[in-house]
Amino acid sequence: MATSKAPARSQILQRRETLVSYLFLLPALFFFVGFVLTPMFMGLVTSFTDSSFANAATGSKFVFLDNYIRLFKDPIFRKSAWNTLVIVVVSVPAVTAFSLWVGSAIYKMKSGVRSFFRCVFYLPVVTGSVAVVVVWKWMFDKYNGLFNYVIRAFGGEGLPWTESQTMALWCIILILFTTSIGQPIVLYVSALGNVDSSLVEAAQVDGATDLQVFWKIKWPSIMPTTLYVAVITTINSFQCFALIQLLTSGGPNYSTSTIMYYLYEIAFRTTKEFGYADAMGVILALVIALFSALQFKVMNGGTTE
């Protein structure tokens, strides 16, 4: 008898614990479902309709894959997709490598100095993007900007910066870079500080060079951090929007337009076709998911096994 009662009581306790766990999850779940899952689902459904501002009152109809087919025929979307890809391909390795380099350089420093550098690099992250972009916009100004002022002071001719089709995207990438490195540096400093020192010392005793210590001991140890940095930077780069809107509005001649910016333009500025804009959103989400999965695969899910 006693043996049969014990598992029953255990099951009841387990149920109670599960119930309590779910209840604790409930507030977060409410917001997650209400503000993440529901809009995602609505966006997916809308992407198969001709929903727009013009027919919001009269109702929209299902157009199946028309929006998706139109996307791939739209030269501005193709240009925006290419620009987005360039931003991701350039900024993700640059941010990851630079953050790792800075992290490696400062994690051994005294705590005060380390904190100073962390503050310096983290400052653009905590500063509002509007303030950051306004300052950059002033620096890039063709007539009275800081950069051209310095160039002219040395006898050169001012550059067109954001006014040029070839330079504008690189200006965007530069700003994105400065606002993206803060968090990875802080993470790398922390991850490198947590590398098992006994392993490092053992390798050094065995005659390993600094480079060997880094690649054989530290790099595998910080792999989960690298994976996180790569995935987060990829997502942020794909979703780059505010600084483009504030700095170039996608120009000149769509040379800085990205999928996120074009989506916004279609949904809010020009034709206000919500269905078409949602189709872009779905494609962007799929591409981000694909890139993230690829990064997980390439980095073995953040392990060295």
Partner: protein
Amino acid sequence: MKRFFALALALCMTFALAACGSTSTPASSGESTDGVTEITWWAFPTFGVDSGYEQELADAFMAQHNDIKVNVEIIDFTSGADALTSAITAGTAPDILFDAPGRIIEYGNAGNLVALDDMIEELKSDLASESLLETCMGADGSYYMYPISSSPFYMGLNKEMLEEADALQYVNLEGDRIWTTENFVKMCEALRDAGVCQTPGIVYCGGQGGDQGTRALVNNLYSSSIVGEDGSWTVDANGVKALELLKTMYDSKALDAGFSMAAADELQQFQQETCAMTFCWGTSNANSYASEDYTQISVPFPSDDGVPELEYLVNGFCVFDNGDDAKTAASKEFIKFICDDAEWGPKSVVQTGAFPVRASYGNLYEGNEEMSLLASWTQYYGPYYNTKEGFAAMRPLWFNMLQQVFNGTPAQEAADAFNTGANA
């Protein structure tokens, strides 16, 4: 068991969300239990930034109408349009909006507004210009905007810079100041040669903000029109000729192109004396970008035949159809108070810095030479196209076309792409 809880939670969530949705339905009733109808007014800062005039109006109105409460919310020109789109699609639109015909008629055509035909009918006999009616009319022939004032867009020049460059001789400062394309080119070249500023003028093309200025410039240079005889959006042969002229001037540095600039950026450069002219001058901008360091001269856009066709702004109100007759009636009453009240009507017109649409208001700027000059330019008002179908989609194509031309795309090719895209 976990599945059971998960299912139960999912159901809870669904009910919770459904509950959220249902609570908004009864809120559409505007009349509260104490018999007061509450209305919300969203206003772009046409009465001036941080002027507080909107609240003054609301207070004065509420003092006369105890049964109506007006909530004032000021929206800005940068994010206001997006906020409106979101609010309308989410069913949380305000009751009244103070804006211009471009957006208002778009909302009316989409079925979001209450027709104001009864109000316009009363106004018709007192309108200063019959053409103002077309700015208020939707595609279905109903009137969706109740206008209060209008003013032209024109060019601004830096007098001292022009004098220094001996370029003032090309500008007509007599009569209504109309001038020719030929003199405009000579003026720009004189400014360039004298080197009194970094660039004579900037044809901004980095966004759609204030793009009516660049359209007026292009269309006046060789008397073209953005709307063809068949009603389509068009850059015709004369428009192409104007684009070619601007490209030539850009290449010779007689003008510059602002690839990442909208009108506000160009106006700042004008204010800071980086350039000697602005293509987006108007009564409102003349106040916002005033400078005591130099004299600003207002001139109409230059044209080959010396007869300009000016773009113009109409300020007005609309009422959103929020499904509540009490709110609609209260909103109309408030709009009438702002525009037609014997005391507050003329005062409101002056506050917009523009000219009254009501002929009976007469000259509200007696003794002001500049305003009298601008008032005389109403005779040069061109056709109003901001309410035409496809206007919103045309605007990004316009500034991108300018970018392409300045970047070396043949003007005809860029114009063809514009004509195709804008009429798609």
